[in-house]
Symmetry: C2
Subunit: 483 residues, 2 copies
């Protein structure tokens, strides 16, 4: 099913010097020449996000408007010329949702990077879409506030991209994903009109929830030009533990036990042996590479944190942990978190080592199941790896039932690619069979379109098309994504 | 602006015995005769929700299907005959969203009242829409779980109605409103197709967020036939305090201080003197009727609750509270909560006493502003009450900035109605000027359509119509509501 996508995926089209066109002239007139990029190297740089093995075209131009009026001008010009618009943030996405299509206008929001307001009493921030997640998180922290969503890419990804993909992260097990924090949006529609959705209030039910319709729509319905975000009070310092398991299924059992006993850890992550080994090879951290799985948990419940951590420890031991280790200070806790954050680059490096000369590919998958089905998911992925004869490492947000089975393939070997593709499909199938979803936080983009259709069924697909047609009848925005 | 609505609103059309029609025959064949009600008294009973002064028509028939297949049969039959369908839960709404229109099929979900599943590990429940909020809350509490949304009507309102209106309540200041708990829906569309939205997982970003598009859409986009709800672990016992203020604005200042200091009370309610007096007259509770405002606050932070309550006490005193009283036990705390819960019936009784012979009308308004603007809202409402010369009591969810200014009018006196209408409009205008929304939790229904249009502007209105047209092109569902 995905064969066409996979086979065409890393053959970038040849880039050549683009001639001036009336559209380019209009864009330059509207934005100024420095915001309109046609240098082939820059076009190449803006072809794709971080999803491996997804098709990407060559844009006509990359534009970097500085404000909403600039975005309106770009959208209106592109619409006049019937040229599609592909919005991009920091291109850290993992589903190809930001990949260019041939001849498109890539609209980068990276120059719209102002924090417009932080209000500690109403606990909200108003930002342009190009603000980097870590920049915002730091700015609100200095006001005693907290913006929880922390995708793996948080040090480089933008709020606009986070909102467009409804990004998750490690804090989400307790604090929820991006959409829980989006109070309101400013969006440029395909007509060039500027729509304001939502509110600045804690509660509000005025009309349809357009805000959350745009959150996670991956740039297919409009261009986000401003975001109003709810903030929380800064959390307490957290205490952290590591539990070592000789079986991934036991780790899954521990996660189910933690949920069943009503605990709400502020972090509950799982790394399997493949990832532990990859991280140690990438940057030695003293991780137990003889373990089959490692659970990383934290509690930020203030005076109760030590008690909660003791309960977590007991549950892990009852589930069969061979060792449970409590971090003795914040430095040690930060090091454990850092190890978890290295999982993605470490696996990329592992794939590169496995198949040299740039042939090592990594398909970073993303599947979520109900918490009670986590052990079955982990068992199933191990079985699929064996049956399909491909290396698959598993890492992820165990407390949410949201795992990333990461598949290593040899791009130069069609048989390896075919085995990888089969494993990918089998994991998706397993996730749905377990009552799960084909994407917990990375989105649909190009990678999961077929599986989205399976998950939501023909009625769901029809309603998606009806909404897309209602908002973007000519298919101007990010064509080929999601649907 | 609202004059036509207000003047026509309590003149119920004459009811007469309805003749059998082909539509009624089809409905009886599909559902069985006992689920198809045409008795004039029953039709009259199903004309309206609890919103005063909103127009209501006379339905052709009230149907009470028992399952999704029954709902599909009703929708298909109504669509074939071009007869609108108005869904109803327990008719406790406060904006007229459930009011019948002449000749419509009223589809009551009250017979679809099964709790289908409670899963403590995945922390979710699956219910039919007719399950009463309190019934679900009790059932999950017995499993050590918690379903937070607690609208004032929670002992009689249904989950289907709560979802359709995105109901709020007192717990929301800490735990959020209904939409935060809706993981997925089953919805019957205007085509008669059955759409499943969302998921059973903690996280999920597969496709557009159709779930939250239907939440709060007040039955205008589809009929909700099943709801998958996220649950939380049961909270700790809470500690409660009451703070008495000689000025409502001081109480507002206290609320802003509580937010600014990063506290997250599990309850933060305000009652003004009008409500205190109304409650004491309705059911003597020993409330301080000489106070201008009373703040009711609770903390459920376990071992930290006493400390948090002490901080709340200090903030209230600094803001000028004349007395702060901490409930000494759970019984006393429950009594305070009960006093707050009586605010609505007590004000209804106050209105009835003010203008006897059934002429006392109460417009229960609903406005939300950013927390920092609460004091300005309270000041403004007092000014509007004086200027318009109508009694207005204010009660509500101060911690969310979501207040209910309740306007007492004499239905028999056009001048009183006109003054009430003017006060209503002035409050809406003030709320928007303060950066707020025309409805924090009661919804748009019939009561706020003009103000919704002002709040979201012409682009917002156009997008609403486009989405309505995409999902319900013939205007089958709940015509005249929201838009």
């Amino acid at each position: 099913m995905l064969a066409a996508l996979w086979s065409a995926s890393w053959a970038d089209a040849n880039l050549s010097c683009m001639p001036a066109t009336p559209l380019l002239d209009e864009l330059r007139a509207a934005l100024g020449g420095t915001a309109v990029l046609t240098d082939p190297d820059l076009l190449r740089m803006h072809q794709r996000d971080e999803a491996d093995l997804c098709a990407a075209g060559t844009p006509l131009v990359v534009v970097r408007p500085r404000d909403t009026a600039g975005v309106v001008a770009v959208v209106r010009a592109a619409a006049r010329h019937g040229v599609p618009v592909v919005p991009q943030g920091a291109r850290t996405g993992l589903a190809g949702a930001a990949n260019a299509v041939d001849g498109a206008v890539v609209l980068s929001t990276s120059a719209m990077d102002a924090i417009l307001e932080i209000d500690p009493v109403s606990r909200l921030a108003v930002v342009q879409p190009g603000v980097v997640n870590a920049t915002l998180a730091g700015a609100v922290r200095r006001e005693g506030l907290y913006y929880p969503p922390d995708p793996g890419s948080w040090e480089s990804s933008t709020i606009g991209g986070n909102v467009a993909t409804n990004a998750g992260g490690m804090c989400c097990v307790k604090y929820g994903v991006t959409t829980e924090y989006v109070l309101g949006l400013e969006v440029v529609l395909a007509t060039g009109e500027v729509l304001r959705t939502g509110r600045r209030t804690a509660k509000g039910v005025a009309g349809y929830d357009l805000t959350r319709l745009f959150v996670g729509s991956e740039g297919t319905l409009g261009i986000i030009t401003e975001v109003t975000l709810a903030l929380r009070p800064a959390p307490e310092e957290s205490l952290t533990l590591v539990a070592v398991f000789d079986s991934t299924a036991d780790a899954g059992t521990a996660v189910a036990g933690i949920a069943a006993q009503g605990l709400s850890p502020s972090l509950l992550e799982l790394l399997d042996r493949t990832h532990l080994e990859a991280i140690e090879a990438y940057q030695p951290m003293g991780l137990r590479t003889d373990a089959e799985a490692l659970l990383l948990a934290a509690a930020d419940t203030g005076p109760r944190a030590a008690e909660d951590l003791a309960r977590l420890e007991k549950i892990c031991e009852a589930a069969g942990a061979s060792e449970v280790y409590v971090a003795t200070d914040a430095v040690e806790a930060a090091a454990l978190l850092q190890a978890r954050r290295l999982a993605h680059p470490a696996m990329e490096a592992f794939a590169a080592r496995s198949y040299p000369e740039g042939n090592g590919g990594l398909v970073i998958d993303d599947v979520a199941v109900p918490r009670g089905a986590l052990a079955a998911l982990l068992d199933g992925v191990a079985r699929i790896a064996a049956e399909c004869d491909v290396p698959i490492g598993v890492v992820g947000h165990a407390g949410d039932g949201n795992m990333h089975p990461n598949i290593v393939v040899d791009r130069a070997d069609p048989a390896s690619l075919e085995r990888g593709r089969r494993a990918f499909d089998e994991i998706m199938r397993l996730g749905l069979e377990l009552g799960g979803t084909c994407t917990g936080e990375h989105g649909v983009g190009l990678l999961k379109r077929e599986w989205l259709a399976r998950e939501i069924g023909p009625v769901g697909v029809r309603v998606h098309h009806a909404i897309k047609a209602a908002l973007d009848p000519d298919g101007l925005f990010n064509p080929g994504k999601v649907l």
